[in-house]
């Protein structure tokens, strides 16, 4: 939470940590924020669910995210 703006920081503004450059290439497009959808996504309420997912997903573990989101909506 940003005390100045009372908003969560935008994922589009998140800086890549040193050493993690190029991380985007390890993940499929559909799990990443798309610049072309920025207007639409920033117009919605969203938050980082760090209670359930406290650490970044390794590319190898992405099937867990896919299963979780698919099964949640089944």
């Amino acid at each position: 939470m940003d005390a100045q703006k009372s908003l969560f920081p935008s994922p589009y503004d998140a800086a890549t940590p040193p050493g993690a450059e190029g991380w985007e290439d390890l993940y499929p497009y559909y799990v990443k924020f798309q610049p072309s959808r920025r207007m639409e996504e920033e117009g919605k309420f969203w938050f980082c669910d760090s209670q359930h997912w406290p650490t970044p997903f390794r590319p190898f573990d992405m099937s867990m995210v896919e299963f979780a989101t698919k099964c949640l909506g089944q």
Partner: protein, 190 residues
């Protein structure tokens, strides 16, 4: 209500069956074996004309693991969303009946629910307190799990601290792995 209603009407029986289904999947997952690949396949695989190499079993087990996880995720949400829906329904009913009631008061009405989902966190807290009580907290914080447990057993309080090890084992799964405190992926340690 024909579908969700069936679950609500038969909750106890269906939940009991859910535990059986999930325990079965965990057992199947734990039984999977992954072996290091050899330099060459056994000679009899050549002479018998088997025509396959050891990566076959490796890939079969990998596929099976992914398949089992997918099933467990489905079981995870089989009851979860129904629980939330029931709470939302209850929340709406209470708000309508007592318009001035605070949200927190409604939340308090369902607190204390005994769920296996909270068990790992409860166990970790119990173990942490026990470690402090036995004076082995610092020992437990260094090295790998095996190293830490071995050092704990050898600590001055060794005799008593074996209680910590036993407690660890008592909440560990049969395969020796410890529950994941975040509860995600769903943890069914009981």
């Amino acid at each position: 209500m024909e579908r969700a209603g069936h679950y609500f009407a038969n909750w106890g029986e269906m939940l009991e069956n859910w535990h059986k289904k999930v325990d079965q999947k965990i057992a199947e997952l734990s039984a999977l074996e992954f072996h290091e690949l050899p330099d060459v396949v056994p000679l009899e695989w050549i002479t018998s004309g088997k025509g396959l190499d050891n990566t076959t079993d490796l890939i079969d087990s990998y596929d099976r693991a992914i398949e089992l996880i997918y099933k467990v995720w489905q079981y995870h949400f089989e009851f979860l969303n129904l629980g939330y829906a029931a709470y939302l329904d209850f929340f709406g009913f209470v708000k309508e009946t007592f318009p001035s009631i605070p949200d927190q008061a409604i939340a308090k009405m369902v607190q204390g629910q005994d769920s296996v989902l909270f068990r790992p966190d409860d166990e970790i807290k119990k173990l942490a307190k026990l470690a402090v009580e036995l004076g082995v907290a610092d020992t437990l914080k260094s090295g790998s799990v095996d190293e830490a447990l071995a050092a704990t057993a050898a600590a001055p309080n060794g005799q008593k601290s074996s209680g910590w090890k036993m407690a660890t084992r008592s909440c560990a799964r049969p395969n020796g792995s410890l529950p994941n405190a975040t509860g995600s992926p769903p943890n069914t340690a009981r």
